[in-house]
């Protein structure tokens, strides 16, 4: 990780003041509101994708969203869109089974995705076989990261759970919106962490995790569980040649998500909070967001 400070592990709720600071730096429309706060309030941030007939719905503001926290309606304070820089963590399975065309296409896909990043975005490469390794920390230097992508070689067994966990925590190490893309073509055989532990961690993370896997392999149930908890999705490819298009589609989709923030009111703190996010008066839209969060 490039910074010693790790954003609060119980990412949701985060400290609201910190969220506001990020929005100011982004210079977006929310910053123009120049809100002032005299005290620290816990806030919840939710990444939300709104689509209608498979097309992203744009132009929504705080008043358009209806958020229920444990069934209690909340007031949405802020909605940002494409304003915060991204922290993209590529978590790649480099076990023995990836050798050959899968690796080649994975490298092509990773570099294509790096080409799609904006100047303020950062990316990192984390690999796992039985060993979890940080091939390159978060950086805005796409060239350095592309070199790291080129230098990897597969060997060993698959610690998918360990790698996914590390990717989520790594993504949270810098301010920004965290996108974690986990690629695996196999099943976990050697992790120390268990699937339930990692899924539980996903509930605490505000990273959005996307899983990419080869159709029919055993990693898919786990990836579906993790991605579902973070509001992401799992994509199954029939051929490694699809990877580039899929990675770019993930980046594109993630950029078009809203970051919805609210200060929880009328609910008890701590424990699991069930979230429902809707768009007011738009019954035909599909809203994709994490199903809940774990609060301290």
């Amino acid at each position: 990780m490039t910074r010693a400070r790790t954003r609060a592990a119980v990412i949701a709720p985060v400290v609201f003041a910190a969220a506001v600071q990020c929005l100011r730096l982004s210079g977006g429309s929310a910053a123009a509101q120049q809100p002032t706060f005299s005290s620290r309030l816990d806030a919840v941030r939710v990444d939300v994708l709104v689509t209608e007939r498979n097309r992203v719905t744009l132009g929504l503001g705080p008043a358009d969203f209806e958020v229920l926290d444990n069934g209690v309606p909340q007031t949405v304070d802020l909605v940002s869109f494409e304003e915060l820089p991204l922290n993209v963590v590529l978590v790649f399975d480099l076990s023995a089974s990836v050798a050959g065309e899968r690796l080649e296409q994975l490298q092509v896909a990773a570099k294509a995705m790096l080409g799609g990043l904006k100047p303020r975005d950062q990316a990192a490469l984390l690999t796992f076989s039985h060993r979890v390794e940080l091939a390159h920390p978060l950086t805005a230097d796409a060239g350095a990261l592309a070199a790291a992508v080129e230098s990897v070689s597969p060997a060993g067994d698959t610690a998918l759970f360990d790698g996914t966990y590390a990717g989520m925590v790594l993504g949270a190490s810098d301010p920004g919106r965290d996108l974690v893309i986990v690629f695996s073509d196999g099943v976990d055989t050697v992790s120390w962490l268990s699937a339930p532990q990692v899924i539980e961690s996903a509930k605490r993370s505000d990273a959005v995790v996307y899983g990419v896997s080869v159709r029919g392999v055993g990693s898919i149930p786990f990836l579906k569980d993790v991605t579902q908890q973070t509001g992401g999705s799992t994509i199954e490819v029939d051929s490694p040649r699809e990877l580039s298009a899929r990675f770019l589609a993930i980046l594109d989709e993630f950029r078009q998500r809203y970051l919805v923030s609210y200060s929880p009111r009328g609910i008890t703190s701590g424990g699991w909070h069930r979230l429902e996010v809707r768009v007011k008066g738009r019954r035909t839209v599909t809203v994709k967001a994490r199903p809940g969060y774990l609060a301290r």
Partner: protein, 448 residues
């Protein structure tokens, strides 16, 4: 621990490319069997004589030319040899016998085997020749010969890609995924057949009784340790060992370790996802059933009061996997108290951390993980566990700091970093000393 009957005898081979020791170079470079030679199928008596020659020439524990005899042999060739040697044994015990039977497989009743007059004369000559070695000595040497054929020969009891010719199949997988189905040569089963004929005390026993022979007991211990150390499972050997020696702590322990491994994802996942023919059963039950079997065997081993340092360790791990963390902590604390070697202590602390965390004893869990991290400074598992522990309690900074320690570990892809990766292989360390002991104590019986 007998398994339900299966149509074909099968063995389970797990190849851990990075984690297991590399095969000896000579084995890796071994040329394929001569196809032309393999096509000239000798008669059953000629094959038995070739087998006897290999037996006489082979020096136990040495990768000599005698082992090359088996280069082109198929599973049914060895099965045929076993049948012929059974007839030879009958003649060794009663030279006047003229009616021969075979018993084996799922056939409960003996079946008569017919030989021509010339074949009977060959059998008689072979009986005289092998009797010179001594019956029991010959059988034990034969068991070692076939163990050596696996250990020093191919490294696996395999004859190549599976073509459904034999009734003995190997399932090879790595990284949780199926690699191949191969025909097995059947060396382990042949060794087992030979040992089943051991009849040490003919005055007391009405029939062969290998369970009375300590060398046979140690052969099973050695064979199972080899299988665990190389992740090459032939569960019928393990089952037979337990069946013959139901109170032997070492065999019970190793059998328990086998079931513990069968419960792990590295075995369960490929068994679940592989597209296997329906008539194959590898004898791997559900994780819970395997853990139950492991617990039973390990508890029996403990009752046998054998002093193996990791007995409590493995039982604790099994209990934790069963979700019985309180019981697990008790066993693991005992494991720590035995002051085992540091590698085993690492496992004990690592498993303690998990069970203490599951019980909500976060401080104790953290202390155990930190101990594990000190015992194996190159290991990532305790650091990942510390990170996750912090993350679960809402301390993102501590979670990140522990993860930084993971990332700071020396890079490299060899299996030396984290002993957790090779936990399943650990009982394999008994193989070397056990094999040396077997060879040292193999003595011709005194002439009677």
């Amino acid at each position: 621990m007998m398994r339900p009957g299966i149509g074909r005898r099968v063995a389970l081979i797990l190849v851990l490319v990075c984690l297991t020791a590399a095969l000896p170079a000579a084995v890796q470079q071994r040329p394929p069997a001569d196809a032309a030679g393999a096509s000239e199928r000798p008669s059953r008596l000629d094959r038995a004589e070739r087998w006897a020659t290999a037996l006489e020439r082979h020096e136990p524990g040495v990768a000599d030319d005698a082992l090359n005899e088996f280069g082109g042999w198929r599973g049914d060739d060895l099965a045929e040899v076993s049948q012929t040697i059974s007839s030879v044994l009958a003649l060794m015990r009663d030279p006047s016998i003229r009616i021969f039977y075979r018993r084996g497989g799922s056939i409960a009743r003996p079946v008569q085997v017919f030989y021509s007059g010339g074949e009977v004369r060959q059998l008689q000559a072979l009986a005289v020749r092998l009797a010179a070695l001594g019956e029991t000595y010959m059988l034990k040497r034969a068991a070692l010969l076939h163990m050596d054929a696996v250990v020093l020969g191919s490294g696996a009891d395999s004859q190549g890609p599976q073509d459904r010719r034999t009734d003995y199949v190997l399932f090879r997988f790595k990284d949780g995924q199926e690699q191949s189905l191969e025909d097995g040569t059947g060396h382990w089963d042949t060794a087992r057949f030979m040992l089943d004929q051991v009849w040490t005390d003919k005055r007391r026993d009405m029939r062969p009784n290998p369970s009375r022979d300590d060398w046979v007991r140690r052969w099973y211990r050695t064979a199972i340790a080899y299988m665990l150390g190389r992740m090459q499972f032939h569960h019928s050997i393990v089952d037979r060992g337990v069946e013959l020696f139901p109170s032997d702590g070492e065999i019970l322990f190793l059998a328990g370790a086998e079931h513990e491994t069968f419960a792990s994802p590295m075995v369960q996942e490929p068994m679940r996802t592989a597209d296997l023919p329906r008539n194959l059963s590898f004898g791997v039950a559900s994780p819970r059933a395997e853990l139950g079997a492991a617990e039973d065997l390990l508890r029996r081993a403990l009752k046998a009061q054998v002093t193996i340092p990791e007995m409590h360790l493995r039982l604790g791990h099994v209990l934790a996997d069963l979700g019985r963390h309180k019981d697990a902590v008790g066993e693991l604390r005992q494991a720590v108290a035995t002051e085992p070697p540091s590698a085993l202590l690492y496992y004990a602390e690592l498993f303690l951390g998990r069970s203490e965390a599951a019980l909500g004893n976060i401080a104790a869990a953290r202390a155990a993980y930190e101990s594990a991290a000190l015992l194996a400074p190159g290991a990532q598992s305790p650091l990942l566990a510390l990170s996750q522990l912090a993350y679960a309690s809402g301390d993102g900074d501590a979670a990140g700091a522990a993860l930084e320690r993971v990332f700071a570990l020396p890079a490299g892809s060899d299996g030396g970093g984290d002993p957790w990766w090779t936990y399943a292989l650990a009982p394999g360390r008994f193989f070397g000393p056990s094999m040396a002991d077997l060879i040292d104590t193999l003595r011709p019986e005194p002439a009677q």
